[in-house]
Structures are given as C-alpha cells and as structure tokens.
C-alpha cells in the first residue's frame, strides 16, 4: 500500500514535467503542425523575443526595431527571416536546432532530454512552452523585410 501510494505520487509529480514538452513530427527540416494544435499570437511572440529573462533571443540576434539597443550578433539578423524560412522550418529551429545541425549554437527552446548539469531551477522544463513557441513563430512570420 505504502509503496503503491509512493509510486502513484511519483507518477503524479513526473507527469506535468513530461507534459511540458509537446510531441512533434519532423518532416525534412521542418515541423509543419503547430505544437499541441495551438494558434500563435504575434504580439505575444514579439514580447517573448524581447524578454531578457526567458527567451533572451536578442543576446544573439538583431530584430528590425530601432528602439532595441545592445543586440547580439552570434546568430544571423532576424530581419526578413519569414522570406527565408517557412513557419514549419522556424518551428523546428526553435524546438531543437541540433536536429538540423549537431553543432548548432542556438539553444533548443523546447527540449528537456539529454541535457547535462541543468540548474535545478530549470530542470525538467523547456525554455519555452508549446504556446510560447507558437507565439514566437507567429511573430517571426511577420518579419518579411
């Protein structure tokens, strides 16, 4: 009884963490279906991309916004990215760029497996939720020039 209860509690505790990473199917270099079938919101995505605590995209990328200063240049400029990539291609690059290039420098934003020495505060959690990934994809899709 004790053991069964403990096992149940463990399972309950583990469930939300596993559920934090949405299942996805890779076709070529893209994930064409939105994660969990969610619709993205470009306005929210724009805020996520600028957030210095969470996504922190701007430590490595520039976006076409003259109000932003001290943007990074480790990754390519995101201006015009919608002309280069489909939403499905953007989605896979956000979920886990090492699926395209093992040496990728860009962090995997929706992955928890096979990471080493993750700080306890972030263990078992992806950087961005499925909804946030969809919001960022929606925002990137607006960068057409």
């Amino acid at each position: 009884m004790r053991q069964a209860l403990a096992a149940l509690l463990l399972a309950l505790a583990a469930a939300p963490a596993a559920a934090q990473v949405a299942p996805f199917v890779v076709t070529g270099d893209a994930v064409s279906a939105p994660l969990d079938g969610l619709a993205g919101d470009a306005g929210r995505g724009a805020r996520i991309v600028r957030n210095r605590e969470t996504a922190n995209c701007l430590i490595c990328h520039t976006i076409p916004d003259p109000r932003e200063t001290f943007m990074g240049e480790v990754g390519p400029p995101l201006a015009g990215v919608a002309l280069r990539l489909t939403p499905g291609q953007m989605r896979l690059r956000l979920i886990d760029p090492t699926r395209i290039n093992r040496e990728a420098v860009m962090p995997a934003y929706h992955r928890i497996a096979d990471l080493l020495r993750v700080d306890p505060r972030w263990q078992g959690r992806p950087v961005l939720t499925a909804q946030e990934i969809e919001d960022v994809v929606a925002y990137l899709a607006t960068l057409r020039e």
Binding site: F70, G72, E73, L115, L116
Partner: protein
C-alpha cells in the same frame, strides 16, 4: 562610472579573431578600461592589493609566523601566480587561492579565510600582481596531465538548459557581441578582477559561476574540483599570454 560602462561598450571594436587564436583579455577591453587597468592610481583593485600586502606581514593569533616570516618580502612571489593551478606534493591540484588557504591552515594553524573573503581575495591579488606581465607558464605534463584532460572535457561539454559548451562562445564566437559584451577568449589571466557589474573584486570562480548560470547550468561551489581543473585548462590555453591580474572588467 555608469557612463564609463556605456562608453566602453560603444567604443569596443568588433574585431573577430581567427578560430583557434587565444587572445589576451586586455585586447578586448575598451581603451578606457584598458587605461584604467594599467593605472594603479585609479584602479580600484589596488585597495585589495594594499590590503593583501598588509596581511602578508601580519602574524596570525595562533602564534605562528606571518606569511613574510616564512617567505620573506612578498616580491619573492614573483612568477608564482603564473605557474598556478599546480599539483602539490600530495598530488592535489591547487589553484592560487587553495595554495594560500593551505598555508593559512597548515603552516599558520589559523582558520581558513574562506573563498571570496576579502582577506583571500586581497592576498591572491597581491601575490598575482607579482606576476603581472609575466607569461602564463603552467605545468601541463606529468601529474598535471590528468587534471588538464578533465578540464578540457568540462570545457568542451555542452551543458545547462541552453546546452552550450564554453568553446561555442569562447572559441567559435570570439569577437562577436553577446548583447552588450564582446565575447573574449575566456581565459583567467586577469583574475581576481574588479568587475564594474560586481562593484568589487572577484575570483575567477565567481566569473565561472556567472558563465555557468548564463547557460542555466548548475553553478559549482567555489573551489570545486571541476572548476580548478577547468582553470588549469584555461591557463594552458593562455600559455605565453601575460598575467593581467588584478584586471578590470565590465
């Protein structure tokens, strides 16, 4: 001071080093910070140097000799910091801080200063200053070889929620901007360093903890073996570059 920081960032040159070349940290500093680093009369780190020189001469309450009592004037420490981390006679890999702590506890029979204490930072800075300008010359063979290999492994391993290895920033992206910073070769030759962001002097391990946190990896405790081995590997990468401690950093 705030203005200085902004100015420093604006003046910084975005020169990208060719892959594999490890450059001295001073070469990434803005002209202002570089001038400050070279000017003891304005460099805030000299407060710690002065404190360290006083501690060097001070006898502990245990009745045992002062550092000077055994070692003579602190100028005799010339070249020592350039050789650390080093393997001690009992086989342990010690960085300069740990070496000082050993003398404190074993030779002075006094309570350890503690990592990141003002006293240990001061003594470390005062001793490191005696190697300023001398080339880094750590031993990497013999007993040091296994520690070097451990440090190299740590350096090359992707880690943290952001899944980045040290080299993905400090080798592959040297000279590029990461937000307001220009990524340097990531060597420890300027530490302990006075960091404007800290508003105080800090050890190399404090800086390493910041980089660990930057990739959302576990911050190892000060003095942890993995950081000391990493420190040895960083020093091996920096071999021949001049010791800059105490450095000035953004």
């Amino acid at each position: 001071m705030r203005h200085l920081v902004v100015l420093a960032a604006t003046l910084m040159l975005g020169a990208t080093a060719s892959a594999g070349e490890v450059r001295a940290p001073a070469s990434f500093l803005s002209p202002d910070l570089r001038a400050l680093q070279d000017d003891p009369s304005r460099h805030p780190g000299w407060l710690w140097v002065d404190g360290g020189e006083a501690l060097w001469r001070e006898a502990p309450r245990s009745g045992r000799p002062s550092c000077e009592g055994c070692h003579g004037p602190i100028d005799g420490m010339r070249g020592v910091a350039a050789r650390y981390p080093a393997v001690a006679s009992d086989g342990a890999l010690l960085n300069l801080e740990a070496r000082i702590e050993r003398c404190r506890t074993d030779n002075q029979q006094a309570p350890a200063f503690g990592y990141e204490s003002e006293a240990l930072l001061s003594l470390t800075a005062a001793i490191a200053l005696r190697s300023r300008g001398l080339p880094v010359a750590v031993e990497t063979e013999g007993a040091a070889a296994q520690h070097l290999a451990a440090g190299k492994r740590f350096y090359e391993t992707r880690q943290g929620q952001l899944n980045l290895s040290c080299g993905q920033c400090h080798d592959e992206n040297v000279g590029r901007r990461l937000r307001g910073d220009v990524i340097s070769s990531g060597v420890g030759t300027g530490f302990p360093a006075y960091r404007l962001e800290w508003n105080t002097l800090g050890s190399l391990h404090r800086r390493l903890r910041a980089c660990s946190l930057g990739v959302r990896a576990t911050q190892l405790p000060y003095g942890a073996y993995d950081y000391v081995a990493l420190e040895l590997y960083l020093a091996a990468r920096a071999r021949g570059l001049p010791v800059e401690s105490p450095g000035i950093r953004r």
